[in-house]
Subunit: 338 residues, 2 copies
DNA sequence: ATTAGCACTCGAAGTGTTAGACTGCTAATG
DNA sequence: CATTAGCAGTCTAACACTTCGAGTGCTAAT
């Protein structure tokens, strides 16, 4: 990726910003009107042609203006984007909204999704933080019907999981509470690995409970469930999605769990930008993603991001993703922390 | 809605089935090929013209075949559709899938959504059953950090709700357990109304807990949260949604909570068919819905349904919705029953 | 009541033309 | 030597026009 002259950089930047705003190929004339630069259109044409030779811009056809290639966007994101922090007042608004929410991961995720979608014009999605070595805080057995028992698990950080168990023989609540107390004594405070290896003399029901315990805890450790999404309708308005099959590809990726699981592992604190599917997702050639992981490395992390057309306001998207990831990281250490 | 002759009924039925299958206006010639009836095309043309006069069919333009109007679909659904029960083997497959799932409402909902979407070619959605007068089975207070406490509520039928509480002063688990035991003694087994009116001498923290208790329980009684959806991508493939704005209207309705809340209240056990938005939802003029409520009337009910193009296989959709509603009703009485 | 037959309508698809939006290049310019 | 004016060349979008065939509606015959 050879270096561009300063002027080329600035032209590339302006072309990209203009194209992002208008969704129309940028002609040399339109460029001059919008940029306020004092050159003739011929000069701009020459420079644009050079940028095209270098692979940063294209032509849909001879007599059309220029639009960025994926390489052009990449250069823009990596070299031309300076400070992408959101303006202070926007940060304030967002922080304010977060402070008003209840202290509950589900609500925060919902809120984060909404904020991401609104400030970045894309579709947003966010996965619940997954605790790497969850330990059991507490379990409870609650009789709901003579032969039906609800097992409630509270894991580290207030993650709650439940499951019904069918009994062979009816048991009353007193007996169940005793059993729960016994199991709490044996298992509370232990992590999955320890629960698994620990061997205790147990009756039938106890064994069943422990089996489900292990099952729910390991599901916790690597599951694809809990995802919150927002902004799909908004992004479908973008002109690139008049094309039915592109739109469908977007919706399909956005909804599929498989896609989510493939979202890349970058360290917490960095924002990753995937432009035009970047080889990995063939159908998403007209889409870009801005992703980040949040939480505390090695302990509990989740992924959040924005999915939009390649013609995306990268500065806003990156700024928002970064800021929301910070807030969510704070949430994780507040709620899940030791 | 004047009565049609038997022949007109049969012609209308065949036109609708053909149009549903092919998505193309049905010409008199195509009609004869597919129906196997032994008339000349002129006769069919005459009858079609009559059906058009009566408002059951239309013409996109002079030299095109006929397609059903909303009124035509309505007549079809109400008068021409005989037994819509799914074939036994399909019912068997579905029941089998349900038996393999874990005994948990969330999983059942997910499964129901998938089954609905797959067997009816539409997008499906299903709301969690809402208990009208939920009562508190059990509450638990669990310390997660010195000044953070998790309140876990178990309501009737194993519905679990949780919320974090911030303490002014640190408290240890022993104290919290005592407090929980006290509150359980006072409030367990009571329904929302009783919890609300009951007055007990309480300290600061206790009051806070009860406040949240009331809040979570009343949210339970009429909330729009817990919804499971499936099949959006599939329905977007239908040719009616090449039109970007129709597609967007569909996605938008499908995702919006407001739309869900407006879904009609029919008694449990009947299936309702809304054709072409039917005045209520302007944007959904090219969509139909097949809806049913499930559960136990006056106790706990939810809504489920399928959203697709007006050109929908109504027989399958109705059959599937009815059958899945029955299964879910069974689930409700098994899990939530007295 | 049904049907054969034909005139008529309309859309889909193809062709031709034109206006104008841009570019690329060349030769002139400071 | 970078810049620019100017112009030829290219391509699209829009429109008008034509043709083809699918399909109807009607009428007169059975």
């Amino acid at each position: 990726m050879a270096d561009l002259t300063l002027r080329q950089q600035s032209i590339l930047g302006i072309v990209i910003r203009t194209y992002v705003a208008t969704a129309q190929p940028v002609s040399s004339k339109a460029f001059l009107e919008l940029s306020g630069l004092d050159f003739s259109s011929a000069t701009i044409r020459n420079e644009m042609a050079a940028l095209e030779d270098l692979g940063y811009l294209t032509h849909p056809h001879t007599s059309a203006g220029r639009m960025p290639t994926d390489k052009g966007y990449r250069y823009f994101v990596e070299r031309l984007l300076g400070d992408v922090a959101l303006p202070l007042d926007e940060r304030k608004t967002i922080r304010h909204q977060f402070h008003q929410a209840r202290l509950e991961m589900g609500q925060w995720m919902q809120l984060a999704a909404t904020v991401l979608a609104r400030t970045s014009r894309g579709a947003s999605l966010i996965t619940a933080p997954q605790i790497e070595q969850p330990y059991l805080k507490h379990l409870e057995l609650i009789s709901t019907q003579p032969k039906l028992v609800l097992l409630v698990l509270v894991l580290q950080g207030g993650v709650v999981r439940q499951q019904m168990i069918v009994l062979r023989e009816p048991m009353d609540q007193t007996a169940l509470s005793q059993l729960a107390a016994f199991l709490n004594g044996q298992y509370a405070g232990l992590d999955l690995a320890t629960v698994r290896t620990k061997s205790v003399e147990l009756g039938d029901l106890e064994t069943e409970v422990v089996r489900i315990l292990v099952q729910l805890m390991s599901a916790e450790a690597r599951q694809s469930a809990d995802v919150v999404r927002d902004g799909l309708t908004g992004v479908l308005q973008e002109p690139e999605f008049v094309n039915q099959s592109d739109a469908r590809a977007l919706v399909s990726a956005f909804e599929s769990p498989a896609f989510l699981n493939s979202l890349v592992n970058t360290p917490v604190g960095t924002v990753q930008v995937v432009i035009g599917g970047e080889g990995r997702w063939r159908e998403l050639s007209s889409c870009s993603m801005v992703l980040a992981r949040y939480g505390t490395e090695g302990f509990a992390t989740g992924t959040l991001g924005v999915l939009g057309p390649t013609r995306m306001p990268y500065d806003r998207a990156i700024g928002t993703v970064r800021y929301v990831a910070e807030l969510m990281s704070g949430m994780v250490s507040d709620l899940y922390g030791e």
